[in-house]
Amino acid sequence: MGKLRYSISVILFFVSISFIQSQPLVTQVEEKMLAVTKYMVEEVSTNGGYVSIYYDDLSRRWGELEAYESMIWVEGGYGTVAMGNCFLDLYEVTANEYYYQAAENAGRALIWGQHDSGGWHYFIDFSGERSMKEWYRTIGKNAWGFEEHNHYYGNATFDGKNTANAAQLLLRIYLTKLDPQFKPAIDRAIDFVLASQYPLGGWPQRYPLKYDFPHGELEDYTHFYTFNDDVTAENLNFLIQCYVALGDTRLLDPIRRAMNIYLLTQQPSPQAGWSKQHDMSLKPAHARTYEPAAIYPDYTYKNAMLLLRFYELTGDRRYLARVPEAIEFLRDVGQKDETGEIVYPIFIEIGTNKPLYVHRKGSNVSDGVYWWDYDSTNLIRHYNGGGVDLQRLENKYRRLNALTPAEASADSPLFGETTIKNPLQDFLMRSDRNVTNQVTDADVREVISSLDENNRWLVKHQPYTLPYQVSPTGEISNTARRSDAVGRTIVDPSDQLYLSVRTYIANMNMFMTYVLHNRKD
């Protein structure tokens, strides 16, 4: 479950039109793009893959936690998948084969690390499973609050869209040149997504199913139906993408079933919302020790918005039937904050509609404890709820409810239409922002000038961790990212220089925007 969210998609959307003749600068930008990328590919990558942050001398490195040198991170914003997508963006903008090959290398690293079952783990270790087990025994196990990394399951995960995003990257590479080297891995990934889908249409967080890591009284949560981090939504989106791109009608039934799980898990009024996890009887369920079984307003909002989208995908009014109840629930639990703004608690207690608040005390996995109660002070800060825009939900509901099924589903990718331009788009339309980028010559010059002599952007003050250590008295360090008592991140205060994948991608996006906009074709 990722705590940081990066947008990995490049949004090529412009409002400004430059009238300045800037061909020389464009050429310079294109040269720099290649030089910077060459450094990442030839000096930084591990067998084609990446983690998120490195010391400038590559002597330490991190994904969501500190990683071994033999490891690459799969998950969304943390490394290999994000880099692979960036390389493909670069290839699309420049048509330079170097970028395609960099993406191909990332794809090959992912294929090396594809789990036997067809999915992916959070990371890949080129030293193999024995090295992974060692990592879990030391760093993983002792990362307080990172409960998803505390135990080695030996299976694959959908958390953080991990498996879906890896499979989507492979699909994207495959669709670029239809190179059959990628096809078997994609087929296996699709089969994995199908095999792991519960009959009622939802997905567990991890698969093959495991039950061997309960937390105290709390049952192992990884087999529950999981909405958290878009596990279900992204798998559904991936299957729609595959249906559109590959035209395989056997995917239609799983697609429909995935939509139906949203109907089945909506709780009865007066608490007609959803949790982030539902147990096998479809009731709200806990996850990590700071995620109680409760109704989650943010996921209620998200899922209700998805139901509206499903009406557009299918023209089936069943998906609208109980959205008004969800709206009513959200209205019931919204609270005014000090500024008069309506805010939504993260957790709503089942049966009472009271907000629940999570706290923690301690300093590591052995003495640390999380708990929840009704006290709204002294909250943990490393776990936040998502946004709720009730007005938007209501407006959209009203608008769609007034449409006939045929009108609503006129543009559905599930009906007839065979020429959809971008089969890798978000068919669930989850983002409501139209980001507009404006890149000036000055912006570009400044970013270029901040490169060092090795064509790298080095940054300071990154989130970091203590190395795994055992003290003479037998105490083990907390290997989680450093944070204060309530979980606020503490960045490295020293002058240590870091190489950051995120910085690289952000600057590449800026360059690409600039190039697309200023080059003379």
Partner: protein, 522 residues
């Protein structure tokens, strides 16, 4: 699919005191005499059809049957088997148990390799069955489910689920393990045939090879019609209750959830009897258009109330008000209620709430034609053109059930996790339950029943619904082998003096006698 739907749930009645005083031994003797005739003179390898000419020269299940055939679909072999076990439980006479085991043996002989059953079993085997379909089955106009040989098993009319339930019952009676393999096979079949979302097709393994009049073969659609889904669900609940297998819980819950996801969107929050793979209302036979059905809506809504009682999960109640609202909105105007006897069209058009009505013309499968339009005159008589739905009853039940807390609602739920609190084992509790619920009409007199038994041990009847024998005329026309009816589909009974042996009559009379014996035992 049975053409006329019987209400399976009769009112519970008390035997009239006037008839008490009859010698119980005399009643038991009459029971045994009548049963011996059925078992020793009428049965075919332990199995039965619905009724026979008194000299057994012709016989019928839903259609005319060969002498080598027994009918699984009721009334026939399964209803006889259950009656025999009822009689055994009440009298403890081994003769009845023995006869019931013969019924079970016949069913096991005819269990398909996949684990389910067809409507009938033919002891002359597949080639004889094909011959039947090629003659009688094919030419039975309006009986489209019998017009072709699929070679698979059917859930229609609870054929497979009731056969399987009978095996469960006879197994539990003495826990004789010879019945267990067939029972296990039947359970596995029901599980395998269930779609992931929890519904069942009408037939399984899935076949698509008999489209009707340009419409897709309907037998693979999700099917509520004639209790396909409910029958399988009830069977699985009984198995869970008596066999204690937890693996059955997930299929049970999925089956109940299927009712939630098939409820139509507003403003037409009802159900129909078949759904396509996209969960949209879809056609079945040529007189069953893709439409919403008030009758099915009423029944499914009542099932949902029960699901709340099974689970305490209020999701099952969430959209009952939507269903009630739709039933009100789709009611017939006063001038179309057939003098107040009907409340709704049988079929209501999706999107418009207009009534759809089926009609037919012709005389047989070759010239006959069914069609559907908006005209409510000249309705098809063998499949009610209009329905009678008691909205008030549904509303009252909803109010009553909805007022219960989950804990109150689930008292006595067969699915609730708790220690069994009764004095007997769950197995015996289950077995006795059926006998406790034997129902008879209040006007029946034990003495009359005994008197009407003839010297050979038969209760003969007249005026049954029969059919013409299969024949080919000189110019090559085949007879319509459906039960006699007029052009609109009104059944025509045999008006002659022909006498019949009827399984239904036997069961009805046996119930009166058994009820008497049971009451005397108490």
């Amino acid at each position: 699919m049975r053409i006329i739907t019987f209400t399976s749930c009769l009112l519970s009645l008390v035997i009239s005191n006037a008839s008490l005083g009859q010698d119980v031994n005399q009643v038991r003797q009459a029971m045994l005499k009548a049963t011996k005739y059925m078992v020793e003179e009428v049965s075919t390898q332990g199995g039965y059809v619905g009724f026979y000419f008194e000299d057994l020269s012709r016989r019928w299940g839903e259609l005319e049957a060969f002498e080598t055939q027994i009918w699984v679909q009721e009334p026939g072999t399964v209803s006889m088997g259950n009656l025999l076990l009822d009689a055994y439980q009440i009298t403890k006479d081994e003769y009845y148990y023995q006869a019931a085991t013969e019924v079970a043996e016949a069913l096991i002989w005819g269990q398909l390799p996949v684990g389910g059953w067809n409507y009938m079993i033919d002891f002359a085997g597949d080639r004889s069955l094909r011959e039947w379909y090629n003659t009688i089955g094919k030419n039975a106009w309006g009986f489209e489910e019998h017009n072709q040989y699929y070679g698979n098993a059917t859930f229609d009319d609870v054929t497979t689920s009731k056969a399987a339930e009978f095996l469960l019952r006879i197994y539990l009676e003495k826990m004789d393990p010879r019945f267990k393999p067939a029972l296990d096979k039947a359970i596995d079949f029901v599980l395998e045939a269930q779609y992931p979302l929890g519904g069942w097709p009408q037939r399984y393994p899935l076949m698509h090879n008999h489209p009707h009049h340009g419409k897709e073969d309907y037998t693979s659609f999700y099917t509520y019609n004639d209790d396909v889904i409910w029958g399988n669900l009830e069977f699985l609940i009984d198995c869970y209750y008596t066999l204690g297998e937890e693996r059955l819980l997930d299929p049970i819950h999925r089956a109940m959830n299927f009712f939630i996801i098939t409820q139509h969107g507003n403003p037409q929050g009802g159900w129909t009897e078949q759904y396509d793979m996209n969960l949209q209302p879809v056609h079945a036979r040529t007189y069953e258009p893709a439409a919403l059905m008030p009758g099915a809506t009423f029944r499914n809504a009542l099932h949902m109330l029960n699901f709340y009682k099974y689970t305490g999960d209020r999701r099952y109640l969430s959209r009952i008000p939507d269903a009630i609202e739709w039933l009100k909105a789709s009611s017939l105007p006063d001038d179309q209620t057939e003098d107040g006897t009907r409340t709704h069209p049988t079929f209501v058009e999706v999107g418009t709430n207009r009534g759809l009505y089926a009609h037919r013309k012709g005389t047989g499968v070759s010239d006959g034609k069914y069609w559907v339009d908006y005209n409510d005159k000249n309705l098809l008589a063998h499949y009610g053109g209009k329905a009678n739905v008691n909205i008030k009853l549904l509303e009252d039940e909803y109010k009553k059930v909805s007022a219960l807390s989950p804990d109150e609602a689930t008292v006595g739920s067969p699915l609730k996790m708790e220690r069994f609190g009764k004095e007997e084992t769950p197995q015996h509790y289950f077995l006795d339950k059926r006998v406790r619920e034997i129902q008879v009409s209040p006007n029946e007199n034990v003495n009359d029943v005994i008197q009407s038994l003839d010297e050979r041990g038969r209760w003969l009847t007249k005026n049954e619904w029969i059919s013409r024998p299969y024949a080919v005329s000189a110019d090559g026309d085949e007879t319509n082998t459906a039960r006699y009816s007029d052009e609109a589909g009104n059944s025509i009974r045999d008006t002659s003096e022909q006498q019949y042996i009827s399984v239904r009559e036997y069961i009805k009379n046996m119930n009166i006698l058994m009820r008497y014996v049971w009451t005397s035992n108490q």
